[in-house]
Symmetry: C2
Subunit: 306 residues, 2 copies
């Protein structure tokens, strides 16, 4: 039996959404000085990253690290990047309205138990709060990104059903979100699951920006990204230095590192617009303020400081 | 445009060839006691590994670590596993003949420069020595495995041409080798290259056991394995604990770790016959004798000792 083609089905170009300044930093216990955050964001933009989660308008009582969100937004907006701010609820979105930021991320977990432990609401309660807010944001012409967490596995419930993910995403698409960022929050997905879910999502929602968000907890992030590429995904959330994780998800450490993902993509001839040398400089900016070593392979092999 | 299928093309079953006792240990500077090697091999077999490179009949002057090869072979053969011994040349094969071992691995690099630095012969010189030895081995009914190194990149020459790999493999197939183990010796291959080369090799040599050998130097091993699976490869060389590398290849550290590869395969529903819990016990046997920490992700997440 001869094969018809000897090329993987891969895109020529991919967009990287840098989540380090928000998702990467939110769990750092020691407060990172606001000026360092600004320098980090600026260095990331210098490296060619054009879409970034800058910060989060979450309660400073719960996440003191994000207490400087207003100042970050005031200083870090620019007209050539998509500067996204996370806003978990009505209060957060009201704070967004007081800024010039025009791109908002909201989030909901597919799993009920996860939502309850994370934000003390069921998935349905969470949805009924957030959907009207999205309608309002869209009426005001905001870019809206919906982050769908625990789309593969839940730390409390185990395997998450694809149909539940599709149904939840459908609710967001109905109210007009621009982007779905679908996440393997605890780094449990395997490549066949990545391929299967993203194939179905791409089929079901062809007109929405479809972004895959993988964690490298079990070292499957790059294989999952390869599978998602084959399913037609051309957008990936990553975090410079592999910073981040999720404090409410046991065992969830390490977003896929931007530099490891970009290296993989470049090696396959896929353009990202990111300069890896400049990216390492951005990682160097934040490294002294992070409580654990930078474990991304590309950084370890190429940083002049290690 | 609707997709026709939403499943990756994956096999149901894969064979793992454990190279830790040979490829993994050969570069350890401190001599690992022979009894420890035997215990390691025995624990690997207990974990369900059925094909293993046990040791190497290389000159003990060059590789003192393998100086106990005859004793290893005398004690570790069994009738239910394929026990392979590396023999780099005529002298080595003569030593094999003095044992009961019936499976021999020979090796040649595709790249001339690599062969010259590695064994002080051009690829052609190396071939003209080894091909008659293989004919002899086959006449005596030995299982012969040809290890093709630098099949993707050479540390001295850069990118290696696919046609050169296919031509070299063709020479081995002509003299009747049972298996080709095609290696990314310095861990430089990217998934599209893995898919492309292995698709062509599978097409060109459908009647030979085709094995892929990846290093995790740049964390691309698992993605390369995923691509090779899609190209039809169902055999992978791996090393328990990720031991090994190549002393003559700058920057070449870390075979793909057996436990990381088996975890990936099992998560995708692909059978290997390997018990991961037992495999960790084998890694524990060898760990105190290895000069660097065990860096495989599965070991770090699951070993009771770390």
């Amino acid at each position: 039996m001869r094969r018809v083609h000897t090329m993987l089905q891969l895109p020529k170009k991919v967009e990287i959404i840098e989540v380090g300044p928000r998702d990467g930093l939110q769990n750092e216990k020691n407060f990172v000085p606001t000026d360092v955050k600004k320098e980090f964001i600026s260095a990331l933009k210098d490296a060619g990253l054009k879409e970034l989660e800058l910060t989060s308008f979450v309660s400073p009582k719960w996440v003191p690290q994000m207490g400087d969100a207003a100042e970050i937004v005031a200083d870090c907006l620019d007209s050539t990047s998509r500067n996204i701010v996370l806003a978990p609820n009505k209060k957060g979105i009201e704070r967004v309205y007081m800024t010039d930021c025009k791109a908002v991320a909201v989030f909901v977990g597919v799993s009920n138990s996860f939502n309850q432990k994370n934000i003390n609401k069921t998935t349905a309660e969470s949805l009924s709060e957030v959907l009207p807010l999205i309608s309002e944001l869209k009426a005001k012409d905001y870019f809206v990104r919906a982050c769908i967490s625990t789309a593969f596995y839940c730390p409390y419930e185990g395997k998450v059903e694809e149909d539940d993910v599709l149904a939840l995403c459908g609710e967001f698409v109905k109210v007009g979100v621009d982007e779905l960022s679908v996440a393997d929050t605890i780094g449990m997905a395997a490549p066949h699951e990545s391929y299967s879910l993203f194939s179905k999502l791409k089929d079901a929602f062809p007109d929405v920006l479809m972004t895959a968000h993988f964690h490298d907890t079990r070292k499957l992030a790059l294989a999952n990204i390869l599978a998602a590429l084959q399913a037609g995904v051309t957008r990936f959330d990553t975090s410079a230095g592999g910073l981040g994780g999720c404090p409410f998800a046991p065992g969830a450490a390490g977003n896929a590192a931007t530099e490891d993902v970009v290296y993989l993509l470049h090696r396959m001839g896929i353009g990202t617009g990111v300069d890896l040398g400049e990216l390492l400089k951005a990682v160097e900016v934040i490294r002294p303020h992070i409580s654990r070593p930078i474990e991304s392979t590309y950084f370890r092999l190429n940083s002049v400081s290690v």
